[in-house]
Amino acid sequence: MTTTEHVYLYGTCTIDLFFPEAGIDAITLLEQYNIKAHFPPEQTCCGQPAYTSGYPQQAQQVALTQIAAFPENWPIVVLSGSCAGMMKHHYTHLFPDNHPQSIQAHRFSQRIVEFSEFLYHHLKITLTDYGQPVHAALHTACSARREMDTLQCSQQLLSQLHNVSVVSPAHEEECCGFGGTFSVKFTEISGAMVNDKCKALEATNIQHLISTDCACLLNINGCLAKRQKTPLQGEHLASFLRQRCQPRKP
Amino acid sequence: MSLENKVMDARTKILNRLHQAKIKQPLYSITDNKDKNNKTIDKSNSSVITNPGHKVKLLIEQLEKAHAHVVLGGAYDCQQQLLTFLNQQKVNCLLTGDPIPENINHILTTTSPLTAPFPRTIKPYAQPIEQWKNHLFDEGNAAITNCLAAIADTGTLVLLPSPIEPRTLSLVPPIHIVVLYTQQIVQSFDALLNHTCWPSVMPSNIVFISGPSKTADIQQTLAYGAHGPKVLAVFIIDDTKNE
């Protein structure tokens, strides 16, 4: 009998408010692999919006709340590359060596693992594809690509799905233009970036847009819907995998 | 305050500011750039020994990629090809160093079974540029020089301007012809340093030439002959071959 492993799930505030099904799908998917994902209700925001806006003091206060919400020494599986990047790499900037909580923060950071990375590297899962043949594109948040280096994890997971053909849209590696408050402060530049991203997606023949970052999806989905050229709406990797890898009822 | 005092002041102020903070940033540990034996995977600093034939091949490949005209052969063969080249390019007036280097003189004056109408005149760079601009800018269609060495890795000719072959000889005329011997070819810049007395004695000017002049400043469209020579022709004399 396989022992149950315990992990924490960090949902992210974007998923909390806009894509809660992704959180449920992630927990359900993990359960299939004997992973019990605990969701501490004391979790809120990782602090990134304040941090990237130049308010490290406020970010630090919020970070302390997150650190306190995950007391057990379990891995913290994060449903976003950019939130994972914040907690894994930037909390050390918020809590330098001479800070009283620096050791705690450091230990917390070491437990952070992004969702696709957890599935691929830690669980080393094998996926079985029960779905129909489809074309899909993978959008990776910039920090997943550059900070967390987890792009290849999502790519490898999708490559296991034999009926999913992954397509690369033009300028795939370019930012979608969200950048947190950037999209609000520099709306025209952000708008140009997300429109270009959508144009590139529309030019492919994909039926699915998958991402490990729902903040990007909030941005891209909103623009796709505004443009009305395609009914395509992106979803979190957890939702896509759960849907594809669920055996069909006879 | 006089300008001299103000300028002196600038030096003092700048250096004082730099002397105040004694921060040393950590270096990356992967390489020590002073260690010449360090075999890093570095295309620009290859210390891997390759055979001479490979070096020549690489040099030619790189030069041709950069749009240079390259000929490899024995001395006689190169000489014939050079005369053919001068005819094809219709070089009226060929500029050379002064006195004409012995090897170039030999190449240009040895008779050929074919009558060669070009070059019609050969002008050695006999005077300081101030008295020679007319020949350099208006009359000279091409110039022929030796070079110190060639670097295979990057397809580069190393020229050492001198009283005999001045800087502008390889710069102003629209065609630059270089005579090179296979034994002058080194693998890399580091290998070149091992063969010279640099850095302890530096010449006033060293020029590294890796192709004809070019630019892509107009809509990223490549065009040759922006300011320097439009044509670079390299005659590599394989001095291991017997005549």
Binding site: I15, T44, F186, K226 | D42, N45, P128, L171, T215, H227
Partner: protein, 482 residues
């Protein structure tokens, strides 16, 4: 509505389809060229770390290296001058030009010829010389085009990247040939002939310096066209202008740095010409300048150097890779920034070097995608430095953020960055909510319950997107009810 100078300029570029097309093509070209050079990740990382170490070591020893460089240059017969400010540099250069021209009263006055140097743009040299009645002619093709158009360079490597062939053909028709034709080869030959006359008669040539080798007192200049060699060889006086951060220790430092520069900038393994100047014309030589002057320019660099994290900025070798890969630059173009150096490197230099109001905007005008930091050949942590400037603007930069310094850092005096009380209040409130999980739960519960009441127009967001629609219940609620 765009409000700042940056936003307004950016807006007009964003709405110009032709410019968008020009920029996209140009950036794609440069990105592809660089990618072809660095297709081996291990080789790239090794070379990059080598280059970073070389520059870091040189900056660690900056005062000693500058003194060594000065001594060696003087020993080689090169005259060395120091300038703290743009004004000082301009006054010096004017004096040196006048010394040359006044010593040759018989020669008809010819314009000063200039090779490509971004440092001269920094000090607004051309404008200053024009005010002194000294015409200064740009000789790099891109700079020449931009000068004819009475504009400034929009990219540090390809100054006329924003101009298409037709626009350039029109410029040449007006200023050079009188005939419109847009064959690129012919355009280049026209410029060549025109500038050749200027080279032939020029008495003063000005250039920048890519690297200055302290060990040997050598100025290293790279180029593809040959105008740099022309400008530094033909005139009797050569004035080389360089930022103090350009000094490197030894000759053997050059190959990796040159490799990083040329491959990152234009995707070339080497440029057509590398010119190493270690002195003026020597006895017996028939050409070369009789006088060579080097001006060591500070202009805020020593202040940057004093700060352990801002010092990283001085590693910059001016390759332009950061701006080529920047999704913001590739859409708004170089002129929108209103700074000498555009793009990501410009954003982190601007608060220190520039005094315009839009320096305030620039560190925020980034999605922090990290593409710039990823391609920087000398590992400048540009996104981190952008964050640093943002924290300076909010007055929250703390001295203990620099983990590798042992001395306290004073916040660097910066120009243009503004503190906003309103913003501060917003983030304080946000923090309060997120530090109180029950309050957060309640607020998010309200958002889901009242989602129908949320406004359809949400400022700039909804110009390009449908309004974000909260779910019927939050993840917190769903798991609580499970």
């Amino acid at each position: 509505m765009p409000s700042s100078p940056f936003e307004m300029k950016a807006s007009s570029v964003l709405q110009n389809e032709e410019l968008q097309h020009s920029y996209r093509n140009a950036m794609d070209y440069l990105i592809k060229r660089r990618q072809q050079q660095f297709n081996d990740p291990l080789e790239w990382q090794t070379l990059r770390q080598k280059g970073t170490s070389i520059k870091t070591a040189a900056l660690n020893d900056l005062p000693q290296l500058l003194l060594q460089l000065e001594a060696k240059l003087i020993n080689n017969g090169i005259q060395v001058h120091w300038a703290e400010t743009p004004d000082e540099a301009n006054i010096l250069i004017t004096r040196l030009i006048k010394e040359t021209t006044s010593s040759n009263p018989d020669l008809s006055p010819a314009p000063v010829v200039k090779g490509k140097t971004m440092v001269s743009e920094e000090i607004h040299l051309n404008q200053y010389l024009a005010q002194q009645g000294i015409p200064c002619l740009e000789t790099d093709m891109g700079e020449f085009i931009v000068q004819l158009a009475k504009e400034t360079p929009s990219h540090i490597i390809m100054p006329a990247i924003h101009k298409n062939k037709a626009e350039i053909a029109q410029l040449f028709k007006e200023h050079i040939s009188g005939i419109y034709q847009d064959d690129v080869d012919i355009l280049i030959q026209q410029a060549r002939q025109y500038l050749r006359q200027c080279f032939e008669n020029a008495t003063v040539g000005i250039s920048g310096v890519n690297f200055a080798v302290a060990e040997t007192g050598t100025l290293v200049l790279v180029e593809n066209e040959g105008n740099g060699r022309m400008s530094t060889t033909l005139p009797q006086t050569h004035i080389a202008l360089m930022g103090i951060e350009k000094v490197i220790a030894s000759l053997t430092d050059l190959p990796p740095l040159l490799s990083l520069l040329t491959r990152s900038a234009t995707g070339q393994s080497i440029t057509t010409y590398i010119n190493m100047i270690s002195g003026p014309r020597r006895k017996g030589e028939k050409d070369g300048p009789e006088k060579v002057h080097v001006i060591l320019l500070d202009n805020g660099r020593s202040k940057l150097w004093q700060d352990a994290s801002l010092r990283d900025t001085l590693r910059c070798i001016r390759c332009g890779a950061c701006m080529n890969h920047c999704p913001v630059y590739s859409r708004v173009g170089g002129h929108s920034y209103g700074t000498t150096y555009p793009g990501p490197i410009g954003k982190i230099l601007a608060p220190q070097l520039e005094t315009q109001d839009n320096a305030a905007d620039l560190p925020f005008a980034s999605s922090l995608c990290g593409a710039c930091g990823e391609v920087c050949p000398v590992n400048i942590p540009i996104p981190q430095l952008l964050l640093r400037w943002r924290q300076e603007a909010t007055q929250q930069y703390q001295t203990n953020h620099c983990n590798h310094t042992t001395i306290p850092q004073q916040p660097t005096p910066i120009t243009g960055l503004k503190y906003s009380r309103g913003q501060h209040l917003i983030w304080k409130t946000w923090s309060w909510i997120n530090c109180h999980p029950k309050l957060y739960y309640f607020m998010t519960y309200l958002v889901t319950k009242w989602r129908i009441l949320l406004p359809r127009q949400l400022g700039g967001w909804t110009l390009y997107r449908t309004p974000p629609r909260p779910a019927s219940s939050t993840l917190h609620q769903r798991l609580k009810n499970k």
